[in-house]
Amino acid sequence: MDIFSPVLSLLLSAGGVGCLYAAWRQKQSAPLLIAFGWGGLLVSLVTWSGLLGVEFGVTYALIALSLVAWLLVGLSAGSSRVKLKAKPSLPLSRPLLRTLGKHTGLLFLAVVLAGVVAAFVGVGVLRVLPMERANTVIVSILLFPLVWGGLSCWYCAAERLLKPVLISVAAGALGALAIFL
């Protein structure tokens, strides 16, 4: 069999997830199966890439991992029936003005402030890194949604907003300094 054949790649992906599944089903810990599982998936990355080129190969390896795992999840579904208490039907309650204000404020922070800070931080950090210019542009554009999303999480998770807001605004200001100076 050709080492970079689609069958082998598919088998490695399926085998890798299969080992993880087998480890999951065992009541005791199964480090060997887990190691084989992740190892198989790593090798499948190589074989998919050898078969289709690195760009297509990595994409196919990741999608194959998801599909095989979902298939196994479906196969292992356990059926049971719960008895629920009937829920009372209520008219839609109007939110309190204070609650509405709090959520609007949080939305502003998670969307607008996080976006602005992410843009300045993302570009500012790359300003000080030695990279080819065209690559810097793309890395900053790719980092942007990740930093934005991360900041949104942070704001939404915080019990007191002052700390994350102050820290991120300071980081954004440093990024702005790096950009404009």
């Binding site: 029936r81 976006g115 570009v123 065209a134 793309i138």
Partner: protein, 487 residues
């Protein structure tokens, strides 16, 4: 994982995940649903106009003749695009500024392009039917917030490995939780890729401004030139670009590449030039662009295939996001993965609804939005077949009508079942209408779509009946519990 994350962090992450999810759940659902459909947009186009001649490779003179006629008809436009036949869209089309024609085998211009329904779906995905400049930004922000949801979702899930394959099909909250978690955890690499590339389309312009300030002394033009290639300096006299001459040279210039479009920039003007877009094997880049003068003299290539990694990536985003590589297999894989993300959006809100101690209008409206959106799209397709109109207004009127009916009925289980049945019936009607209008067997794409509509209708009906029966079972349990309580 349990040792790594403190209980407090998990709790806060879960709160953050819930809050963000509730904020964007409905919009995310519409974007994911329409995006899943948009993976097949070439096939939808072929389904909308199934009687166009396919698989015809035009001779050089005929292509030149078609271009000359189209350029004359179009008048003054910024650019003209000639789409050459490819595997998933084997038709020659010449278009500019929203108008365009298919090219017949003899080189004459044929039927006008009319892809109203496909454009409606694409507009929902790209702009949520908002004005384009705003809509693109809103959708891209959803991409950034999806990154946030993925991060908070992972942090909120201490039993990531413990529950890796568990699915408790109890017909209630735990089932929704498990479906949500299993689809999102195992699909995380795909979802992250979709989120980042999705955010790129609308937000690149904003980061681009900052990048230009940081690295190009504020000169955005210089940045765009470096990334996309600037306008070449051309001296020429030709008034009609020699598209065939340029295309004929491609086997010598790039023998491994397959040309699939030609763009004539500034047609008829002194500075006009041509870009021949060609696909390279085993590469994710959308195309390498080969530049020619209007006289058909080769200038250079832009460098998407061999330039800086960043430049190569920027021209790969489209194909990665929409799964337009690797043919039909990849599209089917993207359909499955896209459906998974759509289901994640729905189950996220369902979990929240299950958690509440009461039910209200939100339960009704959510069921109507989830099951009304596909119904509205199918009805729009039928209307478009008969009236040639795929109206955004009508789409939203239908969606709102579904919501109003659901609120009037005040029972999300029967609303869901009713909308599923209506969608099944509408799908069958759509196939019948299409067959009556265009014939029962047309091109392979249209035939496959019609067949998939029938299969979807049957699956939907089967699933609807199954889930209603299950819900009624739960209701019986509820009554039993109530009786037991009274006793």
């Amino acid at each position: 994982m349990k040792q790594l994350l403190s209980a407090s962090l998990v709790k806060k992450s879960l709160a953050s995940h819930s809050w963000l999810g509730l904020c964007v759940g409905a919009l995310m659902y519409l974007v994911c649903l329409s995006g899943t459909l948009a993976v097949f947009h070439h096939e939808w186009e072929r389904w909308e106009q199934p009687n166009i001649e396919e698989g015809v490779t035009l001779a050089s003179e005929q292509l030149q003749q078609a271009y000359a006629e189209a350029a004359q008809r179009m008048g003054e436009v910024h650019d003209i695009v000639i789409s050459l036949p490819v595997e998933d869209n084997p038709r020659t089309v010449i278009s500019a500024d929203g108008q365009g024609w298919f090219v017949n085998a003899d080189g004459s211009l044929g039927e006008s392009i009319n892809h109203g329904w496909t454009e409606l779906v694409a507009d929902l995905h790209l702009y949520l039917h908002l004005p384009h400049s705003w809509g693109m930004i809103v959708v891209s922000i959803l991409g950034a917030l999806l990154c946030g949801l993925i991060i908070s979702g992972v942090l909120a899930h201490p039993g990531l490995f413990r529950d890796a394959f568990s699915l408790r099909a109890d017909g209630a909250r735990l089932e929704q939780v498990d479906i949500h978690n299993r689809l999102s955890v195992w699909g995380a690499p795909f979802h992250l890729m979709i989120a980042i590339t999705g955010a790129f389309f609308g937000l690149a312009q904003f980061t681009g401004l900052l990048v230009a300030m940081a690295f190009y002394d504020g000169d955005s033009e210089a940045m765009l030139e470096e990334l996309y290639g600037g306008h070449p300096h051309v001296e020429q006299s030709a008034s009609v670009a020699q598209v065939s001459k340029a295309l004929a040279q491609m086997p010598q210039i790039a023998p491994q590449a397959t040309p699939f479009y030609i763009t004539v920039e500034h047609p008829g003007e002194d500075d006009q030039f041509m870009l021949v877009g060609a696909r390279h094997p085993e590469r994710l880049i959308y195309a390498e662009q080969y530049r020619f003068t209007a006289d058909g003299e080769y200038i250079d290539h832009v460098g998407f295939s061999d330039g800086a990694a960043g430049q190569q990536f920027i021209f790969s985003v489209y194909r990665i996001h929409f799964g337009h590589f690797g043919g039909l297999t990849t599209k089917i894989l993207f359909l499955i993965a896209g459906l998974a993300l759509t289901i994640v959006s729905v189950t996220g809100i369902n979990i929240w609804l299950h958690k509440r101690k009461h039910r209200d209008a939100i339960n009704n409206l959510w069921a109507a939005l989830v099951w009304g959106a596909p119904l509205a799209l199918v009805i729009l397709a039928i209307v478009d077949l008969y009236a040639g109109v795929a109206s955004v207004g009508l789409y939203w009127v239908l969606t709102v009508a579904c919501m109003a009916a659901a609120q009037w009925r005040d029972d999300e289980v029967s609303t869901r079942f009713g909308l599923q049945c209506l969608t099944s019936v509408a799908l069958v009607l759509l196939v019948l209408s299409h067959g009556l209008q265009f014939g029962w067997l047309t091109n392979p794409a249209a035939n496959s779509i019609n067949l998939s509509f029938i299969v979807t209708a049957l699956l939907l009906l089967g699933w609807g009946r199954f889930s209603r029966r299950r819900a009624q079972g739960t209701r019986l349990s509820e009554e039993t519990v109530a009786q037991a309580g009274r006793a």
